[in-house]
Symmetry: C2
Subunit: 202 residues, 2 copies
């Protein structure tokens, strides 16, 4: 049920429309938490029903409207309850690692392509996150500025530091995945160079 908490946490910065939340969870934050609009809109309605968010219907242009959601006290309490309670560690499902464990069923070309995509994906993530860390330091992130404006000065350091901590985790993870993909590509070169056959080549 973290979907709900992801939305509540984002709404602590400022009131937002579903559309703005959709963009947020489809932007660079999607490396941490992503959600399609088909999950966001219904969840906002459910949270409204459950009294965790308030809604203001604002006209836009002549004929259209938009629904601006804001977190209320019950929503904040629920977010804090979730933040304080431990999140257990359980199941993982990593299709890339699963696939690599059985690369002998692929071809050298296919295996290489997959690892190159891995590299590309995490290299991009790394660039995005390092940029984000720099932007956070320079207070260039508008959502962060909004968040800080609402809180007393003495809390600012922690708010920025925790945001950076999360992104720092993504940086470390991306570097590990890049190193792994490089090891994998080197292995493929070595095996193919030696002429080691793969079952999947047939």
């Amino acid at each position: 049920m973290s979907q709900r908490h992801a939305l509540l946490a984002t709404l602590t910065a400022q009131p937002m429309t579903g559309y703005e939340l959709v963009k947020y969870f489809d932007g660079s934050f999607a490396y941490v938490w992503s959600a399609p609009h088909s999950q966001i809109y219904p969840e906002l309605r459910r949270m409204e029903r459950d009294g965790l968010v308030g809604v203001e219907v604002v006209p836009r242009g002549e004929r259209a409207e938009k629904r601006v959601y804001s977190i209320n006290e019950a929503g904040l309490a629920e977010l804090q309850r979730w933040e304080r309670e431990p999140t257990p560690y359980q199941s993982e499902r990593d299709p890339y690692r699963l696939k690599a464990a059985h690369f002998e069923q692929a071809t050298y070309e296919a295996a290489r392509h997959q690892l190159q995509e891995h590299l590309r994906h995490f290299a991009r993530a790394l660039r995005d996150w390092e940029q984000m860390l720099a932007d956070l330091d320079a207070r260039r992130v508008s959502l962060l500025r909004r968040r800080l404006e609402q809180r007393p000065e003495e809390e600012h350091e922690a708010i920025v530091a925790f945001r950076k901590l999360a992104f720092r985790g993504e940086v470390l993870k991306a570097r590990a995945e890049i190193a792994w993909a490089e090891e994998g590509l080197a292995l493929l070169d070595e095996l193919e160079g030696k002429g080691v056959p793969l079952r999947g080549e047939r």
Copy 2:
């Protein structure tokens, strides 16, 4: 639809019962891919229906029976198709990072506890994987031995190397997560030492 491919890939080592597969995906491999029995048994039935696996009903004891599944040619073809086709990179959902990004809504105690659990979880994963790498090198893994017995000698090097590659990825990831949790714990000590207040402490 990787569930199916995880099962097919495991069955390339040897014919197995659903129960044996359940244990496998609940053991140390669960850090890569986990599945509960409520997903495994029905999926095996579906794969049987779809002609990807064969089944032999073997008596066990006086009254009981067990169903031993083996991958067939169509199943192998499907596994190889999946191995050769690229797996796209999309959405991530990391509740631990999401939580850390908003630790200001928690308490120092709760945040510290979560990161200590993170450390413990990945330290255990690291131990398990390093042990597994050593066992693979020494050919101490029975499933691996079964897998190798069935394949010509010249393929052995690749089979072992890919298995190790996957586990090596888990080792790198575990180390990155451990380093992250340690950074986080140091940050919490620093902030609390300075007396920086958290909204969630109220």
